[in-house]
């Protein structure tokens, strides 16, 4: 074996040493950074400035007319001390998120596993389950409201059940819980297709050798292969869907506006709906609610990310 000389060792060390901040290095960094400037400008205009403006408005009294007047933290006091409907809105939002997110993910995963197998008509079923994604929430909400309507003109489902002597819960007028369940049903029908497609992509990216190896190691049935191979390897996909669906569910507005208008008696008035109800006449209060909402969603997303990052499996 050749003995390396001291000179050779020094040359190798210098070659491997991280480059310092010389002028050319700085210029290269600036050049690279300048390519991101247009995107950063857009981000500043359409994201950072509006967020900053909303936070600014949360300390003002305003109703979109005239000029805002600074009032300190009074809007936050109003929310915490004088707005029972604010806390009701938080409760409704959390209920919707807890119900909607798992159902979309679990149903999407179930459909993806089924449709990952080869069988005749597989493409047809994949398309069919994805089509609701192409329909707007407004159209879907109106249709579901009509199908399940408990008003003077009963929808087809309550009418059919009434014909066989079963009373469908009056979700439009009396039961806030059932109102939320019907909305979750519509939301799941509409959104599970997206989870299905993402999970399908995830499943198809799993190397089949893992399944072979699992079989050799004793995973005899499909359930075991799913539990010990597919599910862990779908970890990053699940993380992505969990985060996006959680954020999306927190931000949901159209289903509530179209189907129940926040009722009955405010039972389906979510935080975004609360902001919508207040933004014109009490812009400061609405902005304070939005600011708190932003902080909460960022915190929840960060926690989700931290928890799922530790648990994700990468081979």
């Amino acid at each position: 074996m050749a003995v390396q000389t001291q000179k050779q060792v020094k040359a190798m060390t210098l070659a491997n040493k991280p480059r310092g901040l010389g002028t050319s290095a700085i210029l290269r960094q600036l050049q690279a950074f300048s390519f991101t400037v247009p995107a950063l400008v857009l981000l500043a205009i359409f994201l950072i400035y509006p967020i900053g403006y909303v936070i600014y408005l949360s300390f003002q009294r305003w109703n979109l007319l005239g000029n805002p007047a600074y009032i300190g933290i009074k809007n936050y006091n109003t929310l915490f001390l004088h707005s029972a409907d604010f806390f009701q809105a938080i409760g409704s939002t959390l209920l919707f998120v807890v119900l909607a997110v798992p159902t979309q993910i679990i149903l999407g995963l179930y459909l993806a596993v089924l449709l990952n197998e080869k069988f005749a008509g597989r493409t047809f079923f994949r398309t069919t389950f994805f089509i609701p994604m192409a329909i707007s929430f407004v159209a879907a909400g109106i249709v579901f409201e009509r199908i399940f309507s408990t008003g003077s003109n009963l929808g087809i489902i309550p009418q059919t059940l009434a014909n066989i002597g079963i009373n469908f819960p009056d979700w439009e007028h009396r039961s806030g819980t059932w109102a939320m369940l019907i909305i979750v049903l519509m939301n799941t029908w509409k959104s599970a297709g997206y989870s299905m497609i993402v999970y399908l992509a995830g499943l198809q990216s799993i190397n089949p050798d893992y399944y072979e190896a699992a079989q050799i190691d004793g995973a005899q049935n499909a359930w075991q292969r799913f539990l010990y191979i597919s599910l862990p390897l779908l970890g990053p996909t699940t993380t992505l869907l969990l985060i996006t669906h959680t954020i999306g569910s927190f931000r949901a507005f159209v289903p509530f506006f179209v189907m129940t208008n926040g009722g009955p008696a405010g039972a389906t008035t979510t935080l975004i709906f609360f902001v919508y109800n207040n933004y014109a006449n009490r812009t400061g209060v609405a902005s304070a609610a939005t600011t708190l909402f932003l902080i909460a969603v960022l915190a929840i997303t960060a926690v989700q990310f931290l928890i799922t990052r530790r648990q994700n499996v990468y081979y």
Partner: protein, 455 residues
């Protein structure tokens, strides 16, 4: 941006602001200078897109009118009435914008955004008056009307009051309406219920109404009354009529909740009893104005307004009439309608807008517009005119609304009026009517919320 670009941009900004360049040319030149298309359009809007104040270089005023006139009436209005105005006022270009849904927040956003499409006028309910006055958006409409005593004295006094805030007229009534009870005459005959009088002083009482609902609910597949679940504003507005018929008041002039007192409790208890006794069916949520449950025969009575006239004249499924609200202590209905709000952008546009207001208050306009739309004229001479009286004779059911006008109870014009209606709807109406909640407690909660909304 380099200096040559800056100079070029300043040049085209100057030209667009003084009307020496069209919008299309501006966008083309801005993109050529180096702006993205998004930035160019944003800049165009910020510069006013041609005219910052609505005036053009030849002195012609361009005024923007935002409205939600229903489609069938809108077509008639544009083709027959606006054309007349344009001929009489060649120096004014009136640009109508259809809002689709009467949402005052859209108007507020448009006002704040400014630019060439900012509103000069708006067709809106009177509940926005206080907010506009406090923001100094309203010109001296009172002074203008006082200079036209013939116009002022011809408007129904109750509508002058409706148009006033802090003792001055702040907007002008465009058309008025109220709600009354639509009744299915075939169902009334089948249930042997006497048809109430269209004279509000002689019409049915609350007890007779409840009795009618009971008998009508015994008919197969039908309930007595279509209880509205229309969203907070609609429910609160209709409640004004019921409360007025019981001698009560919704909101004091100082903004205190008067609906929670004895009259309000008695009124809500009566309405709740109709629901608990099974005499009612509900409208779809947020669609209390939708009479489809009545059209399809699911309910024999519903409360609704004359703007449905174009549909009612074609309705042949069963015989019907329109009668006043049942009275308890006195006759009442809820005064509604839409006002013409004029905004203080600049004097030329204010003058042009008031020229339109003058035409709007003329007999020719009031008769033609309201015969077409089914709403009610705001002036006495138009109402008494031979043409309008012939119209009423041709459609006798209109008397159910027309006769109620003198007994109308108006909504408040305080700045928090819309929020109060929302608070009432969510905290009192929905729990009491939909969920059978305790009347006194729910009204008290709504009153607390209302009182907390006072500025």
């Amino acid at each position: 941006m380099i200096s040559e670009q800056r100079e070029a941009l300043d040049d085209i900004i100057g030209k667009i602001r003084t009307g020496r360049m069209t919008r299309r040319n501006f966008i083309e030149r801005a993109i050529a200078v180096g702006l993205s298309s998004t930035a160019a359009v944003s800049l165009l809007e910020a510069c006013g897109g041609g005219t910052d104040t609505g005036t053009s270089s030849n002195g012609k005023a361009t005024v923007n009118l935002y409205h939600t006139i229903p489609t069938s009436t809108e077509t008639y209005w544009k083709e027959n009435l606006l054309t007349v105005f344009a001929k009489k006022n060649p120096n004014v270009t009136l640009v109508p914008y259809q809002l689709g849904v009467e949402d005052p927040t859209v108007i507020r956003s448009k006002i704040k955004a400014g630019g060439s499409t900012a509103p000069d006028m708006a067709w809106l309910a009177s509940t926005e008056t206080g907010a506009y006055v406090q923001a100094n958006l309203v010109p001296d409409v009172d002074g203008w009307l006082n200079k036209h005593p013939d116009l002022k004295n011809n408007i129904f006094p109750s509508l002058v009051t409706l148009s006033s805030f802090q003792g001055k007229v702040q907007s002008l009534p465009w058309m008025t309406n109220n709600t009354a009870m639509w009744i299915n005459l075939d169902a009334f005959n089948a249930a042997k219920v006497p048809v109430p009088s269209q004279d509000p002083e002689k019409t049915w009482t609350w007890d007779e109404f409840a009795d009618a609902c009971k008998k009508l609910s015994a008919l197969k597949g039908m309930k007595g009354f279509l209880m509205h679940n229309g969203g907070p504003g609609w429910d609160a507005w209709l409640f004004h009529a019921w409360l007025g018929a019981n001698g009560g008041e919704f909101l004091s002039s100082g903004g205190d909740a008067s609906f929670a007192n004895a009259a309000g409790q008695e009124t809500m208890s009566f309405l709740q009893s109709l629901v608990k006794n099974g005499y009612t069916t509900y409208s779809a949520p947020n669609k209390g104005y939708d009479p489809s449950g009545w059209y399809t025969g699911k309910a024999a009575i519903t409360a609704n307004g004359p703007w449905n006239f174009p549909d009612l004249v074609k309705f042949k499924t069963f015989k019907f009439s329109v009668v006043p609200y049942p009275r308890n202590k006195k006759p009442a209905t809820n005064t509604g309608g839409n006002q013409l709000f004029v905004f203080n952008r600049n004097q030329q546009n204010v003058d042009a807008s008031l020229a339109y207001a003058e035409y709007m208050l003329s007999d020719d306009f009031q008769i033609a517009f309201n015969i077409q739309s089914g709403n009610l004229p705001v002036t006495q001479t138009a109402t008494k005119s031979a043409q309008y009286q012939d119209h009423l004779k041709q459609y006798p059911f209109l008397a159910g609304w027309v006769n109620g006008v003198p007994y109308g109870v108006a909504r408040s014009s305080l700045p928090q009026a819309n929020d109060v209606q929302t608070a009432f709807g969510q905290t009192a109406w929905d729990p009491i009517i939909l969920q059978g909640a305790d009347v006194k407690q729910s009204l008290a909660k709504a009153a607390d919320k209302t009182n907390s909304l006072k500025p």
